[in-house]
Subunit: 193 residues, 2 copies
Amino acid sequence: MKRDKPKYKQIIDAAVIAIAENGYHQAQVSKIAKQAGVADGTIYLYFKNKEDILISVFREKMGVFVENLREIIDNGESSSEKLSQMIDNHFNVLANDRHLATVTQLELRQSNKDLRLKINSILKEYLKLLDEILVEGMLKGEFNSTMDVRIARQMVFGTIDETITTWVMNEFRYDLIETAPKVRQLLLNGLKG
Amino acid sequence: MKRDKPKYKQIIDAAVIAIAENGYHQAQVSKIAKQAGVADGTIYLYFKNKEDILISVFREKMGVFVENLREIIDNGESSSEKLSQMIDNHFNVLANDRHLATVTQLELRQSNKDLRLKINSILKEYLKLLDEILVEGMLKGEFNSTMDVRIARQMVFGTIDETITTWVMNEFRYDLIETAPKVRQLLLNGLKG
Ligand SMILES: CCCCCCCCCCCCCCCCCC(=O)SCCNC(=O)CCNC(=O)[C@H](O)C(C)(C)COP(=O)(O)OP(=O)(O)OC[C@H]1O[C@@H](n2cnc3c(N)ncnc32)[C@H](O)[C@@H]1OP(=O)(O)O
Ligand SMILES: CCCCCCCCCCCCCCCCCC(=O)SCCNC(=O)CCNC(=O)[C@H](O)C(C)(C)COP(=O)(O)OP(=O)(O)OC[C@H]1O[C@@H](n2cnc3c(N)ncnc32)[C@H](O)[C@@H]1OP(=O)(O)O
């Protein structure tokens, strides 16, 4: 597997930085190569083109994230607790990596249809886990059992997403982690019966 | 005022269609001119460049929208009612104009810093009205008086925004208006004490 080769992860991490600092459209493959400390040609051993790099970055990072979440969910007690942990995780990962936050909140929002469909099919993995927590909570009576799970999912993800985009647009000037408990409280309130 | 000249509005409306159908980056000024039925040179009597057109589209449409909302708010009864009307309005405007919805949900999300700051400063007008409703509700005791109004605003806007983006990404396959009451209910629940 290409993904197991040593330089693969090195290029992925360099791409996050190069894309965050230059913007996706101005982050030429040569800039990514330079950031990774590899020759331009090496990039093409691992990736077809820049679009493939962007999608691979998201798939790779999301893969690790979803794996961690899977464990949290399997070991969690109540549905509210699982949801809280999911929210905290999301804030923690991005609060601790501003390059990643710039990429997820600004650079992954491409309007090119094909590219966007690929990005959103990766996002779907995350949203499926969220749906799982919401449905469990509805069945257990922890959450409003009559709500539309799609709209509830859109509220939870939309709120987290908007909070983080605002923090990025405000140039990281405040502590994102401190907002997590407030976000949790408002959302859990909304979901309750 | 340039904005009062007859062709100004004609170009604005044509730009919404050209940008929605081609994407912002592929919507050359000549395409917008063709859609508007004017000569290329005419566009430059009204706008500096394509960026100026995009920003003017948003400013123009937002201006009308905010004016209507101002009236709704001044005449509304309770804060919950005002918020409900604001949400309904947002859904109605975009449900009735798919070109506009494509522009607001996909094409206005530019990662270019300068352009984005200009777009967001127009969005601010809308969010200030939202804050006004939220603060009034907190003072009156209709909404949780201890919540952080910025996070509450981000929940309301983020939920509406995500719901509409999902509808656009699902190619308008369901009735957006039908989702409005569900969105309202979840949000009002979240905001209550
Ligand atoms: C074709 C047009 C059709 C229109 C027709 C109408 C249809 C309906 C409407 C359609 C909507 C369309 C949406 C399209 C928008 C496109 C743009 C997006 O992508 S939107 C989706 C993505 N979303 C975005 O892109 C929105 C991103 N947000 C923003 O850019 C800004 O929030 C703002 C410009 C919107 C407001 O700015 P501002 O008024 O400054 O208010 P802030 O609260 O941000 O900051 C105030 C101060 O508080 C600080 N602070 C804040 N929070 C916290 C906290 N939790 N803890 C501690 N501190 C916090 C902050 O640092 C600042 O202090 P300082 O640092 O200056 O001292
Ligand atoms: C660098 C990476 C770092 C990662 C590290 C990890 C860090 C934390 C995570 C970071 C998150 C990063 C976010 C970055 C994302 C970038 C993309 C965005 O812009 S996100 C921000 C903007 N947001 C987006 O771009 C997300 C837009 N959403 C989507 O694209 C899709 O919802 C989906 C692909 C996400 C899921 O798709 P799917 O699984 O298909 O689920 P659906 O529910 O959509 O549809 C199921 C069926 O139900 C129908 N239906 C739905 N609702 C309603 C309703 N209310 N009434 C009636 N019907 C409804 C619908 O038509 C469909 O039926 P049919 O028509 O097929 O028969």
